[in-house]
């Protein structure tokens, strides 16, 4: 494979979208595009549902946008000078609604990822409003092959695995992760979970993770931010503040991927055919007692 071991600067817009106000949020996105250009970023990443706010509930119908909608096209156009990853409620041709993250580059829509896992447990109710995506693919982008996982997608082991075996060297994770179970002094709840998860994934997959989490409150639910870039060695390349808006900037040196994969060649040794055969068997056994995806 022809890989240029490049370096580039990524910026993460950690901010608080206004719930249900797409035009206000679009303006914020465009402001951040300008700000990111000023710091010479080549990629700018926004949090999950940055254009709409997280708990859209019955606003879903009003805030949904087809990719051809002028609001979406405007953001795609804003990617002339730097790549932009943004997230919105996508309305498909058949009027299904998805939580989507789009990767735009050079004024074109390069890749679309529809959230695969829509949580319905605890405080979450996403599957009530949204349809789940059904594919997970890498695409060619800055730094080589890239992948996108939206929040809960990344809490499923198979997601980074599937991207890694397709050759991803960078995985973008737009998120709207609320702080919960954080009362106890010994337990930082979801924040600790994310930190551990990204560290382990980055080391196992030998790739960069760009975590873009929002801040602000929606009906008392607190989104904690803590965006950053995790390197393939399991160390933060850059880490944003908790709870406040920020443009987090990091320089990614893709030679780190090369070194990590040489030093700990887990991906090289990965036995995808064995995994495939065993998965087929596991699915066969599972489907004898229960239906499931």
């Amino acid at each position: 494979m022809d890989v240029a071991w490049s370096a580039f600067r990524v910026a993460i817009a950690q901010f608080a979208p206004k719930l249900g106000d797409v035009s206000a949020n679009l303006s914020r996105h465009l402001e951040y595009v300008n700000e990111a250009k000023q710091v010479n970023a080549q990629v700018l990443v926004f949090p999950e549902l940055g254009l709409t706010g997280y708990q859209t509930q019955d606003l879903t119908l009003e805030v949904a946008r087809h990719v051809s909608h002028p609001d979406i096209q405007r953001l795609i156009q804003a990617s002339q000078e730097l790549d932009v990853i943004f997230s919105f409620v996508e309305e498909a041709d058949d009027c299904r609604f998805f939580v989507t993250a789009a990767y735009a580059s050079g004024g074109r829509l390069v890749h679309r990822h529809r959230k695969l896992y829509l949580p319905t447990y605890g405080m979450f109710d996403e599957r009530r409003y949204f349809a789940p995506g059904d594919r997970i693919r890498t695409f060619s982008a800055q730094g080589g092959q890239a992948g996108v996982l939206i929040c809960e997608d990344a809490w499923h082991l198979s997601s980074p695995y599937l991207l890694a075996v397709q050759g991803a060297s960078i995985i973008y994770v737009p998120a709207s992760s609320p702080w919960r179970n954080t009362m106890a002094a010994s337990d930082f709840g979801s924040h600790a979970f994310w930190r551990q998860l990204l560290q382990v994934y980055a080391q196992l997959c030998g790739c960069f993770f760009v975590f873009a989490n929002r801040v602000g409150y929606e009906d008392g639910v607190h989104f904690y931010g803590g965006s950053g870039v995790m390197g393939p060695d399991g160390e933060w390349v850059a880490e944003g503040p908790a709870s406040e808006s920020a443009l987090v900037v990091a320089d990614l040196d893709f030679r780190m991927v090369r070194r990590a994969r040489y030093t700990t060649p887990l991906l090289r040794d990965e036995r995808v055919r064995l995994v495939l055969a065993e998965m087929q068997e596991a699915v066969r056994r599972r489907s004898t007692d229960e239906a499931g995806d």
Binding site: K18, E218, H222
Partner: protein, 283 residues
């Protein structure tokens, strides 16, 4: 309290403070207000709320309202004034004796018998909330709630009285956590140390009235509500069966107090059922 439960209920006070002060700042300002108003009783819950609000919004954007009744313990007002002094925040004293007495004078006459302590206490709690909501309009300030998670779960409060508010920063903290956070933020020691009381009649204490201690309640509630253990499982861990059942039954019985009024469904989209928007819609 068993050490392992106590450890689980131990707060990270600076983290919790930053989340709660952020909550107050964000939720007050995004609905177009700059100020908050709240009742300050001399107890630990409202004292903690005062400390959080003053830190979140600044001293000049919070207003404490002290609302004694003629039978209130003088120490309550004294302790409330200590909070006002410690924080240097503006305050108003509104004596609720006259309106409450005027009400019962009339109603006792009409009904032909004297109201019991519960009715009188509920009326006082609602009189205070009516006063706060009036001052909210007068001062263009949002009303902060001061009920903690233990009280809310047990239903140990008056619906549309002390349970009412526009925003409640401490409603997800158990009583033992309120104590920890209050100590961390410097709530005066005379407030930290005294027995919790709604101060609705002489010598009232919450724990005497409830029949169990807040620590016992917190310990059982945490295992049932947060850890999702069944009452049977909690009993099998060595807690008194009567106590566990009494607490669980209290929580169930008072569920109605914690919900908005329910609406008879007629249409396809009914408020509260299938007309769903966050309160923070568009803010």
């Amino acid at each position: 309290m068993r050490p392992e439960i106590e450890a689980k209920l131990a707060l990270n006070p600076s983290l919790v403070t930053s989340v709660l002060t952020g909550f107050l700042r964000d939720e007050v300002t995004k609905v177009g207000f700059q100020k908050a108003v709240f009742g300050l009783s001399g107890g630990i819950d409202s004292a903690l709320t005062a400390f959080l609000a003053a830190e979140a919004l600044g001293r000049d954007r919070v207003h404490a309202v002290l609302m004694p009744y003629r039978t209130s313990h003088p120490k309550s007002l004294e302790d409330a004034l200590k909070v006002v002094e410690a924080l240097g925040i503006p305050h108003t004293i509104i004596d609720i004796t006259a309106p409450v007495d005027a009400y019962f004078e009339q109603v006792d006459r009409v009904l032909g018998y004297e109201a019991n302590a519960l009715r009188r206490g509920n009326r006082m709690a609602r009189e205070r909330m009516v006063t706060l909501y009036d001052l909210s309009a007068a001062m263009n300030a949002l009303v902060l709630g001061t009920s903690n998670k233990t009280e809310l779960l047990l239903g140990y409060g008056t619906q549309f009285g002390d349970m009412a508010s526009a925003l409640n920063p401490i409603g997800d903290l158990y009583k033992c956590q309120v104590r920890q956070l209050a100590a961390h933020l410097g709530v005066p020691s005379s407030i930290l140390e005294k027995a919790p009381s709604a101060d609705l009649w002489a010598d009232q204490t919450d724990e005497k009235e409830l029949g169990f201690s807040y620590d016992e309640a917190d310990e059982i509630l945490y295992q049932w509500v947060d850890l999702r253990m069944s009452p049977d499982e909690i009993v099998s861990r060595g807690y008194p069966e009567r106590l566990v059942r009494a607490i669980v039954e209290r929580v169930r019985h008072n569920q109605y107090k914690r919900r908005m009024p329910i609406i008879a469904k007629l249409s396809g989209r009914t408020i509260g059922l299938d007309f769903r928007y966050l309160r923070d819609w568009g803010t």
